[in-house]
């Protein structure tokens, strides 16, 4: 992925830090001479839950492992490790998505619950795309939260990207309308729309989001080309409900998993990918513009469950 160019070492560091814990704990489960018994699976289940991956996936893996055991293909606990890696690879197989930037303009809609990192991700992505030589426009469609517009404007000034905006409290649909129009008129490559944080359980706010999408679509058939849900790594089981509801409401094209520079593992994405088939397209590992990169399933799994 070309916009990857600005990425720094900290991306690797951030991701590694968040995965260390899990791999250390898995070591004791996948000891070669450990018997494969219920105690083992219970321990594995707890570790996976501790990574917010959830009990359902743990149970599925247990079934698969028992099957292999029955066929005699697995006899020692350390053989469970490659099996588990393969299981995760299968699960994350849907995560091969890259951003669709093939249009002019490509319209990206950022959405998600409150405080997940939408505005920051918009800014980081804009900066990186600009670095890649693309012309970029930002739209401040969060007209609700105090100083949300100023936040995006400050970012815009910092990274040298124009921000389409209206007064606080104005209709976000009007902002989207203006922005798509401006992006088309200026023939920019990418328009990134920042929306207000909203809980997936609030139907009026979900309706508003549907409307934003419709306005973009009516202005520019095919837009938005990406509807990206921003999810922060500390989020637990609720992340699944979020993704399910947003997906149902407007159809998600991908996820951005932020705040991976902490100790949280973002394990809930495994369940989201597995059950909803929505790929992870971006990860965030800090508050600076460089702290954004593409999601790399192989590396995610390597970090999650190292080969040895």
């Amino acid at each position: 992925m070309s916009f990857f160019s600005g990425l720094k070492q900290r991306l690797t560091d951030g991701l590694r830090r968040s995965q260390e814990l899990l791999s250390a704990e898995l070591k004791t489960v996948f000891e070669p001479d450990r018997p494969i018994d219920d105690a083992l699976f219970e321990e594995l289940e707890e570790i996976l839950i501790a990574a917010d991956i959830g009990a359902a996936l743990a149970a599925d893996f247990k079934h698969r492992a028992k099957e292999e055991q029955m066929f005699g293909t697995v006899t020692r606990a350390d053989q469970l490790r490659p099996l588990f890696r393969r299981f995760l690879v299968d699960t994350l197989a849907a995560t091969t998505g890259t951003l669709d930037l093939a249009h002019q303009p490509s319209v990206l809609l950022m959405l998600g619950v409150n405080g997940a990192g939408k505005t920051t991700t918009c800014a980081k992505l804009a900066a990186q795309l600009k670095d890649d030589g693309k012309s970029v426009l930002l739209a401040a469609a969060d007209t609700f939260r105090a100083a949300a517009i100023e936040q995006l404007q400050t970012w815009g000034a910092r990274i040298g990207v124009d921000v389409i905006h209206q007064a606080a409290g104005s209709d976000p649909a009007a902002v989207v309308f203006d922005a798509v129009k401006a992006a088309t008129a200026r023939r920019v490559d990418v328009l990134i729309i920042d929306t207000a944080g909203r809980l997936h359980t609030k139907s009026n706010l979900m309706d508003e989001l549907v409307k934003l999408k419709r306005v973009a679509e009516r202005q520019l058939p095919g837009a938005p080309h990406e509807s990206l849900m921003v999810l922060d790594a500390p989020t637990g089981q609720n992340g699944f409900a979020q993704a399910a509801m947003f997906h149902q409401a407007i159809g998600l094209s991908g996820l951005c998993l932020t705040k991976l520079d902490g100790t949280a593992k973002g394990g809930i994405v495994v369940r989201i990918v597995r059950e909803l088939g929505v790929p992870i397209k971006l990860i965030g590992v800090g508050e600076k513009v460089d702290d954004l990169g593409p999601f790399d399933p192989a590396r995610f799994i390597d970090a999650l469950v190292p080969e040895a």
Binding site: E46, D52, R145, A146, T235, G236, K259, T263
Partner: protein, 450 residues
């Protein structure tokens, strides 16, 4: 998305057959369900482990109350234990002997600190105090603007200047609070990671110099297993006095609160339930416990049921159900009893198997609760024959009944429709004979005395 824990536990006990006493053996499977429920609610797995041990110790050897099913008994033990762990309600931030009382907010990025600062300012202003806000986040773009906008909306002054250091901002705010006689002083700090030593040092330095009376850790209710690590680190590095749980207006179960409470031992002071500045509530452990268990507020109804159950009435009702003789008179009795217990939809939602079956039906019935008096009048205007055989009530009878009760024909229709619906539901329930026998002790119907 989640079945109520009690329903799940009930099926565990159904498989086991009836038990008069909880034993190590027969609660094993039930405890496993409890464990999964807690993990699904984001309670940290280590916390869950020790919790389950404690519940087991309490439960083993208990006799099952005649009015409760074993499933409910376990839920009750679990619930009581949870409430105990979550601590008392109504924790108040004590006023300092020498004003200003200083409250400092800290936490991870995006957890809701700035919004909570404004909510607290509003709350204290409503109580007749004169708060001052300090915007000590100089990093996040427009963070100071954000607090200043909120302060302006609330008419609460805000100290903040992006060219100053966070500690200087706090210092200046404290001076200003002292000279202007403003209290409490609420410090909004930047979001920071619990593993960011430099940023932890910053907040430590603020704490050391400004000496806030209350350091509040702001925790997002949607947080998963990581909550324990976060709280532990903030607590050892900086020290926490109380917790604020934000974004509880969504559908997160909020198990993180239990984890955080367990590892810090600190009380949960407030709960954030919306984006607006009035969306702050005191904390209620019993509500959160029910929510963590995925059962709404209905648990207290179990207790009410314990008092209200009359075995004979229950058996009589079950018999009538079997014979499919659920008359309008019975219907009226049910409505009356239910009214004494609380909101109808909650009561009905509690009945195993019924909650799922009704989906919306319960709400519909509950909506009619206001009309119970009208229903009373309607049934009074019926002949005994009409009450036992409502199918004879034709158009002209409906008109007569409406006139006699001072209601309208559509009211009469509604009553009849509801009765028919309930009867149908009960028929479906009858299919689940095994469960029904066990339902004796449940609130709602068919087992209540008035």
């Amino acid at each position: 998305m989640f079945d109520a824990l009690s329903t799940r536990l009930q099926s565990v006990f159904d498989k086991l057959g009836g038990h008069g006493r909880l034993t190590e053996d027969n609660i094993q499977a039930a405890l496993r369900e409890v464990r999964v429920a807690l993990l699904e609610a984001d309670v940290n797995f280590k916390v869950v482990r020790s919790f389950i041990e404690r519940v087991k110790t309490k439960a083993v050897g208990q006799d099952v109350l005649t009015s409760l099913t074993p499933g409910h008994q376990v839920v009750k033990i679990v619930h009581d234990e949870l409430v105990g762990l979550l601590g008392g309600s109504g924790h108040r931030l004590a006023t300092a002997p020498h004003p200003p009382t200083v409250i400092m907010l800290m936490g991870l990025q995006g957890s809701g600190k700035t919004t909570t600062a404004a909510k607290l300012a509003r709350m204290y202003a409503k109580q007749g105090q004169h708060p001052l806000l300090a915007a000590a986040d100089i990093y996040r773009p427009a963070a100071i603007d954000q607090l200043k906008t909120l302060g302006a909306q609330l008419n609460v002054p805000v100290v903040g200047d992006a060219s100053m250091k966070p500690l200087e901002i706090c210092r200046k705010a404290r001076e200003e609070a002292a000279t202007r006689g403003l209290t409490p002083l609420i410090l909004d700090t930047a979001g920071r990671l619990h593993i960011d030593e430099a940023m932890l040092d910053e907040v430590k330095a603020i704490k050391a110099e400004i000496k806030p009376h209350h350091v509040l850790l702001v925790v997002d209710a949607m947080t998963g297993q990581d909550a324990v690590t976060v709280a532990e680190k903030f607590n050892t590095a900086v020290g926490i006095d109380a917790l604020v749980l934000t974004k509880m207006d969504g559908d997160a179960r909020g198990g993180a609160a239990l984890s955080v409470r367990e590892v810090t031992g600190r009380p949960i002071a407030f709960v954030g339930v919306g984006e607006k500045t009035d969306a702050l509530e005191p904390f209620h452990p019993d509500r959160l416990a029910s929510r963590i268990l995925g059962m709404g507020d209905v648990l207290s109804l179990v207790e009410k049921a314990q008092e209200a159950v009359d075995q004979k009435t229950a058996e009589e009702m079950v018999r009538k159900l079997r014979e499919n003789a659920f008359t309008l008179e019975d219907f009226r009795q049910q409505l009356k009893q239910v009214r004494q217990m609380g909101p109808l939809d909650q009561v009905l939602g509690m009945i195993p198997g019924l909650g799922k079956m009704m989906k919306g039906g319960a709400a519909e019935l509950a909506g009619e609760q206001k009309d119970l008096d009208r229903f009373d009048a309607i049934i009074n205007s019926m002949t005994p024959a009409e009450r036992t055989h409502p199918e004879v009530i034709n158009g002209s009878r409906r008109q007569r009944i409406a006139r006699g009760s001072g209601t309208s024909v559509s009211d009469v229709n509604r009553l009849l429709k509801q009765h028919a619906q309930l009867k149908k539901m009960m028929k479906q329930l009858k299919g689940m004979e095994g469960k029904l026998g066990r339902m004796k002790g449940l609130p709602g119907f068919p087992s209540l005395r008035g």
